[in-house]
Amino acid sequence: MTRKTLLAPAIVAVAALLAGCSSGSGSSESDGPVTITYGIWAGTQTPAMQEIATAFTAENPNITVKIQERPYPEFWSTLQTSAAGGTAPDAFWMLAQQIRPYAAGNQLLDISDAVKEQQVDLAKYPKAVLDLYDQGDGKLYGLPKDVDTNAVWFNKALFDKAGVAYPKAGWTWADFRETAKKLTDPAAGTWGVAAPLDYQGGYYNSIFQAGGKVIADDGKTAAIDSPEAQAGIRFWTDLQADKSSPTLQQLSDTEAETMFEQGKVAMYVSGAYWALKLYDNQAIRAKVDVAPLPTGVKQATVTSGIENVGYAGTKHPEAVKKFLLFASGEKAANIQAKSGAVLPAYQGAEKTWMNAMPEFKNLQVFIDAKAYSVPLPVQGNAAEWQGLQAKYLTPAWDGKVSVADATAQYADAIDKVLAENG
């Protein structure tokens, strides 16, 4: 064999490698048919999202929307790396506690011009949710897709068995604690309530109910160690001390929501987003009901919602903007509502959502809760300081450290994070 014949295949191989790297780019913005991707995390909402994508293409035959599903915690690590690498989905779901670095890093598409052009009425969306995403830079990165408030899911069968009256609107913290105690039956292996270490569906609500705050109004320091906030946390540690709840270890092995579905706990405080999952479980559908959160010093629930946002690096910004307005608009809201998967942010679809699950008679409590809702605290690098909760608050839940000491240490840690990227 001569040298030349050896060289040729090598060159071909290198050329193929290089070609492989560059394929995929090329096609540019035009009126031709385009495909955009829509990144969501896996769950009960996927069929509704698929339906929204189909409905959008029916209106815009030139734009195909491909759903890209990722399991929940990995959704964020994948999104971060793909955005940095220029391959993020064209449109995707965003959470208020995650948006800050993406907005600050210019990774999100500003859709304010499209919103103005299409005369989207922002009053149709919950102000609390819009505010959560407001970065104070005069830009609009997305529109709310859904809204969530919290309430108490409860298992009627366990209440009947213990001879306890169902919870009613206007019940208090003391009622709640007493009810949980009465429902606990160690012999049967059932507990009155699940008291996990959960911020959005758990202790943030009681902190606000006690008149406290998680972060001070200036957004620069933690307020979780204030006497009011401590009282809000004691709401949960008391339930643990009473042994009215499985321990945190038990809730680590089997999540609170699963325990509730298995009929192991009688009450579970959480959001409207569980409605469809509970409804789809034939074993417990007839037993499940829902009541408003108990009142502390005042009534309160934290509220948040997913926003549909676009990727600044998209090759089809106009198509993406069109899709974002559609996916957060009235038609999409009705599709979401009909599926029951989630309470749409767009005003007017609430009835449709409730009617999707006719056997759940009291879903109205989630809608009523909007009246006394407080925005989820998401200051600074929220994902980071919220991620520290297990380290600092677990000992308080376990009764090994006083709430005062645990919150003081946690507040210091939060202050440090807020100072770093304030």
Binding site: L7, A10, I11, A13, T81, Q249, A383
Partner: protein, 300 residues
């Protein structure tokens, strides 16, 4: 030193065709290993925002790392895990020797032990999480039958690292058995026949023939196991399930700490420093193993 003459050179000319032939492989290596390594190394000296370029801050990341109690805790957990997983090697040697004795169906045993290796770690982690569940798990049920109180194996940081290690040994056993099994087959049968004539027992044969002649394979397996154990991440990630797991703070491994810094807290510079420190640790441990092997590995 032998007196072999130097190899004759064809000419002083550089043989470009050789470079061309390794170019595809090198391009892949450079793009997938060399470049990421270099950029990680540079990032470890920078403060890097989530998006966009970082700015050099000297050794700040390393200073912070050495003062971070979580880092030392994770290092301790990784060391503990590695130490226990290494105990699986004697087990693998004995099992490999036993399988070698099996006259028929040897392959069946190998396949059975190898199955966990080709199973997705995620699936393995999920199944073990069910087995080790404190309230409903199989293990605690089995223990209750013999009157031993159960524990929250994967929710209690006193036990979680040991739980990982048991699963880690089980997962790694298959590969080790294959390597050791190949090593066993290279030992000449006549050595056993001769020693049997001299009246050596099976046990004596194992220690006098099998073990010394198998030592290169054992050394290889030890190196591989150490490196992969120090890099363990998936079992923590899957078996502890969620970030609120009560065992997580106390049983993070060093790579889990890296994951958390890079992908949860968005601190890429700090994460890069963790990765570099882990690399240095692995290099030192491997170098020590190579130095010590001269004392116990027999090459013929």
């Amino acid at each position: 030193m032998t007196r072999q003459p130097a190899r004759p050179r064809t000419s002083g000319r550089i043989d470009w065709s050789a470079y061309a032939m390794i170019a595809p492989a090198f391009a892949g290596l450079a793009a997938l290993y060399l470049w990421p390594f270099l950029s990680t190394f540079l990032k470890s000296f920078q403060t890097v925002p989530v998006f966009g370029p970082g700015r050099f801050t000297g050794g700040a990341n390393y200073d912070k790392l050495l003062a971070d109690a979580d880092f030392w805790g994770a290092l301790g957990n990784s060391a503990k895990y590695t130490a226990i997983v290494l105990l699986g090697i004697p087990l693998a040697i004995v099992l490999a020797a036993m399988i070698q004795q099996v006259a028929r169906g040897r392959a069946v045993y190998r396949v059975l032990f190898f199955l966990p290796v080709v199973t997705l770690p995620v699936a393995v982690g999920m199944v073990w999480r069910f087995i080790l569940n404190g309230d409903f798990g199989l293990l605690n049920y089995a223990l209750s039958l013999i009157g031993v109180p159960g524990q929250y194996w994967v929710a209690d940081d006193r036990f979680a690292v040991y739980a990982f290690a048991v699963v880690g040994i089980w997962m790694g056993l298959g590969v080790n058995l294959i390597i050791l099994g190949a090593g066993l087959q290279n030992i000449p049968v006549d050595l056993y026949e001769a020693s049997a004539l001299d009246g050596a027992s099976r046990v004596r044969q194992f220690f006098a023939i099998t073990l010394p002649l198998l030592s290169p394979s054992v050394f290889f397996v030890t190196i591989l196991t150490t490196i992969s154990a120090l890099q363990m991440f998936d079992l923590v990630f899957i078996m502890l399930g969620s970030v609120n797991n009560t065992a997580l703070s106390g049983s993070k491994t060093i790579v889990y700490l890296f994951y958390e810094a890079a992908f949860v807290q968005f601190k890429q510079g700090y994460a890069a420093a963790i990765a570099i420190v882990l690399l240095v640790i692995i290099m030192i441990v491997t170098a020590v193993q190579f130095a010590v092997q001269k004392k116990w590995v027999v090459y013929d």
